[in-house]
Subunit: 226 residues, 2 copies
DNA sequence: TTTTAATTTTAGATTTGTCTAAATTTTATT
DNA sequence: AATAAAATTTAGACAAATCTAAAATTAAAA
């Protein structure tokens, strides 16, 4: 039996939700996939049949080893294509997600390994997310969200957790991108918004919602890397 | 209504058959798509509904202006991706067809125009077929098949009509590739096979079936081009 | 611990693309 | 021109992926 595009999308979404929340629910999955819980259930049964998922009805589910492997391969493809689009075709980092969403379903293994080599085996995609290697090994990144950062410490943007293009556009507008170094100047407990300062620019205010999705490495952990 | 991958494949196949034979039949289309005549009929009705096809049942069909435009765009994508695979990812010209068959269905217009620029707006793909430009203009090529060539004249391989990988492998084996200059030494009327000579190699015999599918430009028409 | 609420699953329908077998239309042959 | 053959289309079925509405199960609240 084949792994269709829809199945691949389900596997990938389950993987991401597992990373974020540990356990995944039918409803959450339906929400991220913009589909209905009933449809998710249907798909879960198919994935179980293919041994990509460990699933008992009403009790919950998680990826099997096989399923995880498949999901990581899709993520590898997605991130390599994003890198290609930004670095070779001059796309902005905020416009590549949807295209990569299509490209990630091209099946040739050889293609993706050649692409990887062509790009010089990059370690992270343009949003700062680590790219799994050809064996499926995936770096975990030690980073925290901007909202967890202490005051008056500089940090460097190393990733964006949620990648809606609306959100990426907002960041673009405020000159915040991957690698941008910034400092938290003020926190407003009322709405958890915060004021950040980027070098050579007037300070800007970010909502809690945005701050939660901007991932940074503080300068110590960066230093330690080299 | 959307143009699905299957519809795109039908449009493309109709276009190619139209080029080759002028008119297209339900059976021929079914054969090239490895599907059944009944399935083709079903699809023809859908394409007609979308005004991509001019079709009256039992009487025949051909692409509409819109349909032609759509088909050419798919061919543009296919050939640009083939070029990318060969020139940037070091694939052999005989192994890119199937991958391009998948890539040609990626929808982003911007992607393909950027890719075109990145590749330096190439004029032909690795098999020598012309690449339509971003306006959908498609060069027609003045070339004849090897079997139509006169004896003792040199010519240069400018295209391969049928691109099964079996056929491409055979050519590869005989050191015949795009741009190869060769000369017809003998024709055997018995089976229409012929013996050709490539520089610095012993002569080889090609079946009529192969010769028919190797397209060449004779050296005059090549000269005339510059 | 009942009762209520939320979550998840089933049952049955729909759409798209495909199939086989039978019917229809066109083309070729005698 | 009548009949046989070939090509094409219809009718009806099926698999995949989705949906809505209703039923089943689990979790939460009174």
């Amino acid at each position: 039996m084949k792994v269709s595009i829809s199945k691949e999308n389900h596997l990938k979404a389950i993987f991401h939700l597992q990373q974020e929340h540990g356990l995944v629910t039918t409803n959450a999955l339906a929400a991220t996939l913009s589909t209905r819980p009933a449809s998710v259930t249907d798909m879960l049964k198919k994935l179980k049949e293919q041994k990509l998922l460990i699933y008992e009805k009403y009790r919950g589910f998680k990826l099997s080893g096989e399923g995880r492997k498949a999901a990581v391969q899709i993520i590898r493809k997605h991130r390599l294509w994003e890198y290609f689009l930004v670095k070779k075709l001059q796309f902005g980092w905020d416009e590549v997600h949807d295209i990569a969403e299509e490209l990630e379903h091209i099946s040739s293994r050889k293609l993706i390994d050649r692409l990887d080599a062509f790009l010089g085996n990059p370690e992270t995609d343009p949003h700062g997310d680590p790219i799994p290697d050809s064996q499926g090994r995936l770096q975990v990144r030690r980073q925290l969200s901007l909202s967890e950062m202490p005051l008056n410490k500089t940090a460097q943007v190393s990733g964006i957790a949620s990648q809606t293009s609306e959100m990426l556009e907002l960041l673009q507008y405020n000159h915040i991108r991957l690698g941008t170094r910034l400092e938290i100047r003020k926190k407003f407990p009322f709405d958890n918004s915060l004021e950040v300062k980027v070098r050579n620019r007037p300070p800007v205010t970010l909502s809690a919602q945005v701050a939660k999705n901007v991932l940074v490495k503080d300068d110590e952990s960066l230093a330690e890397r080299r």
